[in-house]
C-alpha cells in the first residue's frame, strides 16, 4: 500500500560527494578576487554572487534528495516554493526601501 519511494544508497552517496566538492570549491574561490580574472568592468560583488550561487546549489541538492522533495507529493513542493516566494517578498520590499533612499532628490540614508 505504501507510496513511499526508497532511494538507493548510491544516490545519497553521490549527492554527499557533490556537496563536499561544492564545499571545497566555495572555500577555494572565496580567496580569489574573481573580478581580477575577468575581462572588463566587473564589480567586487561577483565574489558574493558566486558564493551564493554555490550555496543555493548545495541547498537545492539537500532539499531535493535528502529531503525527498524530488519524489514528494505536489503539495509539499508547493509549500517549498511558497516559503521561498514569501522570503523573496520580505527581501525585495525591504531592500527596495534601502536601495532607493536618496532617489528623486529626496535626501535619505
Amino acid at each position: 500500500m505504501s507510496t513511499v519511494h526508497v532511494t538507493p544508497v548510491r544516490t545519497y552517496l553521490l549527492v554527499f560527494f557533490g556537496l563536499m566538492a561544492l564545499t571545497f570549491l566555495t572555500v577555494g574561490v572565496a580567496h580569489v578576487n574573481i573580478a581580477d580574472h575577468l575581462p572588463g568592468q566587473v564589480t567586487d560583488a561577483i565574489n558574493d554572487a558566486v558564493a551564493m550561487a554555490i550555496a543555493v546549489t548545495k541547498a537545492t541538492l539537500v532539499v531535493l534528495f535528502f529531503m525527498h522533495v524530488w519524489h514528494s507529493a505536489r503539495l509539499n513542493k508547493i509549500v517549498v516554493w511558497a516559503s521561498l516566494f514569501f522570503i523573496l517578498i520580505l527581501f525585495a520590499f525591504s531592500l527596495a526601501d534601502y536601495f532607493s533612499r536618496g532617489w528623486l532628490g529626496v535626501p535619505g540614508k
Binding site: S83, F93, A96, R101, V106
Partner: protein, 546 residues
C-alpha cells in the same frame, strides 16, 4: 447537504458529557474542548484589556493628566494594545470558533494533530501568563509596536518578559495555523471538494497561511529586541550602527498581515451568517473564496504603509501605497457579494444577523478610512493621530469583534446545547453598535484636527470630542456586559437547543447540539455544494421566531 448523521443525533454522549473533571479538560485532545479552553482564556484577556481601555478613556475625559502619571498611562495603552491584539483578537475567531467548527464543517473527527492543538493552547497560556506577570510587576511602556531604539535602550519595565511572552504566544498561533492547513488538505469527508467548503473554511485557510508565514518574522524581530536589551548590543540602536527602520520593516511584515489574521476569520463568519439568515446561496462563491486568498497574499506586500513618514524612501512609500490600494479591492468584492446575497433572500433579523449587518456598516467606515490612510497625501497629515486609532478600532473592535460575537451567537446553541435570550441579545447588539460608534467616530474628527495618539494630556480645544468618546465607551462597556450575563445565564437556564435551530445548511448543523466526541454518529458523505438552501425546506427544525 444530506448526511446519514441526521438519523439519530442523540445516540452518543455529547463532547461535554463524555468525560468529567478538570483533568478531562486540561488534558483533552478534543478540538471542541480546546476551543472552549480558548474561549475562557481569551474572554479573561478581553475583560482585562477592556478595563484598561476604560481607564484610558476615563483619563482622557479631561485635557490634564489628572488620574494617572504619564508613565502609568503609557503602560496602560501598551498593555491594552498587547493584550487585545496578541491575546484576544488574533486567537479569537480562529482558536475558538475555528477550532470548534473547522473539523465539524469538513466532516472530520478532529484536527490533524490533536496533541499539537493542546500544545498550542498551553503555549498561548504560558505566553499570556508571562505577559500578565509582567503587567503585575510594572508592565511596559513601549507601545504595542515596540519601536526601537525606544524599546531596546530607553524603555523601562518588563520588556524582556513581555517580548518572550509574545514570542511564545506567536508559536501557538503558528501551530494553530499549521494544524488548520493540514486538516483542510487531508481530513475532508468524502465528497467535500474544495468548492463545496463553507467560506468560513476558506477564510481560515487564508488566515492560516498568514499565521505560518508572517508570525515567525515578528518572532525573530522581538527576539532581537530582547537580545539587544539583555546584552546591550546594537541590533537596532543607531548608536552601535543599528538601523531602527529595519525593526519597523520586520515588525510590520508581520503586523500588517496580522490585521488580516483578525479580519479574515470574521469575514468567514460573515459569509455563514449572511447566507444562513437569508436562506440563500452566497452570491459569487468563487469570488468570495478567492478574495480571501488574494487578501492574504497581497496583504504581505503593503506593510510599508505604516512607515510613510518614518524615513523610509519615498519610492518605497509610493510602491507600498500602490499595493495598499490593490488590497482594498478583494474586501470590496466581499462586501458587494454579501449585499447581493441578500437580494431575493428570506431575511430574518435574528441576533447573529444584527451583528452581521452591523459588521458591514462598521467595516465600510473602517475599511474606507483605511484606504484614506493608504493614500500618501492624506497619511502625512493623519499618521499617528486619533484618525489611526479610530480606523483600527473600527476594523478591530467594530468589525472583527462584531464578527466574533455574531459567530458566537450563531454557534452558541451548537457549542453549548442551549439557547440564549432573544430579547436581551438584541438589546446587547444594539447597545454595542451605538456605544461603539459614539466612542470611536469622534476620534476621526479628533484625528483630522491633529490630536496625536498615545497622548496622556492634550490641548483643551479637543476636550468636547474626547468627552463624547469617553461617554460612548461607557455605553460600549455596558453593551459588552449584557452578553456576558445572558450567555452565562443560558448555560443553566436556556432552552435546550435543537440540532439545527436556524434552519441553516452546513455539516455542523447536521449533528447533535452539542456534538458527540468524534463529531458525527456516522461519518458524513457530502453530496451538495455549500449553502444549497433551495434544495430543502428546513421546516421542522426551526424553533426560534422570525
Amino acid at each position: 447537504m444530506t448526511a446519514p448523521a441526521t438519523a439519530a443525533p442523540n445516540a452518543l454522549p455529547s463532547y461535554l458529557e463524555a468525560a468529567h473533571g478538570p483533568k478531562s479538560w486540561l488534558l483533552t485532545r478534543d478540538h471542541k474542548r480546546i476551543g472552549i479552553l480558548y474561549l475562557v482564556a481569551i474572554s479573561v484577556f478581553f475583560v482585562l484589556g477592556g478595563l484598561m481601555a476604560v481607564l484610558i478613556r476615563a483619563e482622557l475625559a479631561t485635557p490634564q493628566g489628572d488620574m494617572f502619571s504619564s508613565d502609568v498611562y503609557n503602560r496602560l495603552f501598551t498593555m491594552h494594545g498587547i493584550l487585545m491584539i496578541f491575546f484576544f483578537l488574533i486567537p479569537s475567531i480562529p482558536a475558538v470558533l475555528g477550532n470548534f467548527l473547522l473539523p465539524v464543517m469538513i466532516g472530520a473527527k478532529d484536527l490533524a494533530f490533536p496533541k499539537l492543538n493542546l500544545t498550542s493552547w498551553y503555549l498561548y497560556m504560558i505566553g499570556g501568563l508571562m505577559t500578565f506577570g509582567s503587567l503585575l510587576t510594572g508592565g511596559i511602556d513601549t507601545g504595542w509596536t515596540f519601536y526601537t531604539p525606544m524599546s531596546t535602550t530607553f524603555a523601562q519595565g518588563q520588556v524582556l518578559v513581555t517580548a518572550v511572552g509574545i514570542f511564545v504566544a506567536g508559536f501557538s498561533s503558528i501551530l494553530t495555523g499549521l494544524n488548520f492547513i493540514v486538516t483542510i488538505h487531508r481530513m475532508r469527508a468524502p465528497g467535500m471538494t474544495w468548492f463545496r467548503l463553507p467560506l468560513f473554511v476558506w477564510a481560515h485557510y487564508a488566515t492560516s497561511i498568514i499565521q505560518i508565514l508572517g508570525t515567525p518574522v515578528v518572532a525573530i524581530a522581538i527576539l532581537l529586541v530582547g537580545a539587544e536589551r539583555l546584552f546591550h548590543i546594537g541590533v537596532f540602536d543607531p548608536k552601535y550602527g543599528g538601523d531602527p527602520l529595519l525593526f519597523q520593516h520586520l515588525f510590520w511584515f508581520y503586523s500588517h498581515p496580522a490585521v488580516y489574521i483578525m479580519i479574515l476569520p470574521a469575514m468567514g463568519v460573515m459569509s455563514e451568517l449572511v447566507t444562513a439568515f437569508s436562506r440563500k446561496r452566497v452570491f459569487g462563491y468563487h469570488f468570495v473564496a478567492f478574495s480571501s486568498l488574494f487578501i492574504a497574499v497581497i496583504g504581505f506586500l503593503v506593510w510599508g504603509h505604516h512607515m510613510y513618514v518614518s524615513g523610509q524612501s519615498v519610492v518605497a512609500g509610493a510602491i507600498f501605497s500602490f499595493l495598499t490600494m490593490l488590497v482594498a479591492i478583494p474586501s470590496a468584492v466581499k462586501v458587494f457579494n454579501w449585499t447581493a446575497t441578500l437580494y431575493k433572500g428570506s431575511i430574518s433579523l435574528q441576533t447573529p444577523m444584527l451583528y452581521a449587518l452591523g459588521f458591514i456598516g462598521v467595516f465600510l467606515i473602517g475599511g474606507l478610512t483605511g484606504v484614506m490612510l493608504g493614500t500618501l497625501g492624506i497619511d502625512i497629515h493623519v499618521h499617528d493621530t486619533y484618525f489611526i486609532v479610530a480606523h483600527f478600532h473600527y476594523v478591530m473592535v467594530g468589525s472583527a469583534i462584531m464578527g466574533y460575537l455574531g459567530g458566537l451567537h450563531f454557534w452558541w446553541p451548537k457549542i453549548t446545547g442551549r439557547m440564549y435570550d432573544e430579547f436581551w441579545s438584541k438589546v446587547g447588539a444594539l447597545l454595542i453598535f451605538v456605544g461603539f460608534n459614539t466612542t470611536f467616530f469622534p476620534q476621526f474628527i479628533l484625528g483630522y484636527l491633529g490630536m496625536p495618539r498615545r497622548y496622556h494630556m492634550y490641548p483643551a480645544e479637543f476636550q468636547t470630542w474626547n468627552v463624547l468618546s469617553s461617554a460612548g465607551a461607557t455605553i460600549l462597556g455596558v453593551g459588552y456586559l449584557i452578553p456576558v450575563i445572558y450567555l452565562l445565564w443560558s448555560l443553566k437556564f436556556g432552552a435546550k437547543a435543537p440540532a439545527n435551530p436556524w434552519g441553516a445548511k452546513g455539516l455542523e448543523w447536521q449533528t447533535a447540539s452539542p456534538p458527540p466526541v468524534e463529531n458525527f454518529a456516522t461519518p458524513p458523505v457530502v453530496t451538495e455544494e455549500a449553502y444549497a438552501y433551495e434544495t430543502s425546506v428546513p421546516a421542522k427544525e426551526v424553533t426560534v421566531g422570525i
